[in-house]
Amino acid sequence: MVLAQILLNGILLGGLYGLMALGMALVWGVLNIVNLAHGALIMLGGYVVYYLFTLGGIDPFLALPIAMVVMFCAGFALQWGLLNLVVRSKMLNTLLITFGLDVVLTFTAQLLFSADFRTINPSYAGSNFPLFGLTVPIVRLAAFGVAVALAAALWFVLNRMPLGRAIRATAQNLVAARLYGVNPRVLYAVTFGIGTALAGAAGGLYGMISNLTPYIGASLTAKSFVIAIIGGLANPFNVILGGIFVGVAESLTALYLGPTYTDVISFGLLVVVLVLRPKRAVRAA
């Protein structure tokens, strides 16, 4: 029974992990930028929802779409004004600039929001209901639902809408897409904006389940990266499945080895996955 409960918790948490990775996978797949500031953007989204809730009194789940709009604009501006300037340079340089951005965002957050732990804590935060003898926490279940819904929305946009067609065409061949009337600067900015909006939603949900501090970015980036590789960059649903895999693995580690080892395990998992799937690693290099 304990095991079943742990598995359930892992799956619900994993859905959120998948949502975290969704934006990173999209930006990576289309723009060929591995965004090391992705975790910091998740953190920022978390703070936007936190302040909408505490200062604005808006229910956190209703604040999510607002936060997504705010983060979309931030992401659009970032790509338009800064990242578009270096997007053609070597992978080393795009890695470094997003690493620099991560530092800037982290310490700006520290100056603005202080280093205190923050939790988005609505009245129903602790409530849960029993199901087949298991306890289902409402917030986590809702977070899982939002993650799956957003993955479905992304799938719909990518596969059924003109914007999605333009994004996929650009990912396949930038020059050809340009010839067919796609403006790459705008399209890159829109894609990055969608990625940041997804990160913002993930941050809001993360703030309801765990603690927000300015320093959560780096570990969330690493986690998103692992999941993006496990799930692949092409299909949003596979990314969610990858998230569930990592969530379950972490929960089992915490149960059998102790919670201090979850970092070691997710790192170990990353190396194992990278080494076992060398084809993909070579292709993107």
Binding site: V34, L36, L82, N84, L85, V86, V87, R88, S89, K90, M91, L92, N93, L95, L96, I97, F99, G100, L101, D102, V103, V104, L105, T106, F107, T108, Q110, L111, P184, R185, Y188, A218, S219, T221, A222, F225, I229, T260, Y261, D263, V264, S266, F267, G268, L270, V271, L274, V275, P278, A281, V282, A284, A285
Partner: protein, 316 residues
């Protein structure tokens, strides 16, 4: 190829630096030790990162291993400092080989992100090791001799820079550069890429570990948070990239410039100093993707057009 006068200037600067403890104040010597150790870290990162093109965000692990190797040898077994350093270096070399063999098969961003997790994993392991004092850490015997530590750090930086100078002129360095430019082509030309990359990481781990050992003995205290300090990765990468990755003196100049700026700023406002570091790396990538060394090489012909050209080359 490097001009002769660059070498002469470098030697003169190094000799002049050696005499700083005779004239400088205590604060200045202590700042010097930190700056020299950081420059060593940036220079050793340069071996694989600058020449080989493999960006590692996990070299602080070798610093931590050097720190703990020295500390464990000196406190638990009462061995002298020199032996402690050797223990630290051996630990770091083993660590580099164990880490390098699997993850150096990965390329580009895969390698970089695989190294991101290293530091956290090592910190978790050392926090649970009784021989390393678990969470509490170890206290080393006290030696108040800042001049000795200063000269040690200077010697280490000189040794590291000489090694990089040798690399830049040797067949080995050419191999690393070939790997950076096109790993498949390098393989076709007979460069054993795995051997080159792993040995470059091991070479880097040696200098990084000695820097860690010196710092441990100097500060007389080691705990998981200070030994596996992830901001150290940030600093060494930024200093090297700011100065000019893949050059001999770029990382040293970059570290000295940034250490000084950081020291001046940190005296005023501490968070802003970290923030400035982030801005420096962002602006450096946009305006001078080949580093300070490339800007200086432009000499008198340098104008704002150089920076515009850099942007034009890389923008969408």
């Amino acid at each position: 190829m490097m001009k002769r006068w660059t070498l002469i200037v470098a030697v003169i600067v190094a000799v002049a630096l050696a005499f700083v403890p005779l004239v400088g104040s205590d604060t200045m010597i202590q700042f010097g030790i930190n700056a020299l150790l950081l420059a060593t870290l940036a220079q050793s990162w340069n071996i694989l990162g600058g020449f080989g093109g493999y960006v590692s965000f996990g070299n602080s692990v070798f610093y931590g291993l050097g720190t703990y190797g020295t500390a464990i040898a000196m406190t638990n077994y009462n061995l002298p400092f020199g032996v402690g350093l050797v223990v630290g270096v051996i630990l770091a070399m083993i660590g580099a080989a164990l880490v390098g063999l699997p993850i150096l098969r990965l390329r580009g961003p895969y390698f970089a992100i695989a190294t991101l997790g290293l530091n956290g994993a090592m910190m978790a392991i050392f926090s649970n090791l009784p021989i390393a004092g678990s969470n509490i850490g170890l206290v080393l015997p006290l030696t108040r001799n800042d001049t000795m530590f200063y000269e040690l750090a200077l010697g280490l930086l000189a040794a590291c820079t000489l090694t990089v100078l040798w690399i830049s002129r040797s067949r080995y360095g050419m191999g690393l550069i070939a790997i950076r430019e096109d790993e498949d082509a390098a393989g076709t030309m007979g460069v054993n890429a795995t051997l080159y990359k792993v040995s470059a990481l091991i070479l880097a781990s040696i200098f990084t570990a000695v820097a860690g050992g010196i710092h441990a003995y100097w500060s007389t205290f080691v705990d998981p948070a200070s030994a596996f300090d992830s901001t150290l990765n940030v600093r060494m990468v930024i200093m090297c990239v700011f100065g000019g990755p893949g050059t001999v003196f770029g990382p040293v100049i970059g570290s000295f410039v940034l250490s000084t700026v950081y020291e001046v700023l940190a005296a005023q406002i501490s968070t802003a100093a970290a923030l400035l570091f982030g801005f420096v790396i962002v602006l450096a990538v946009v305006f001078m993707p080949r580093g300070l060394a490339d800007v200086v090489k432009g000499g008198k012909g340098l104008s704002w057009r150089y920076f515009i050209r850099n942007i034009r080359e890389n923008r969408l």
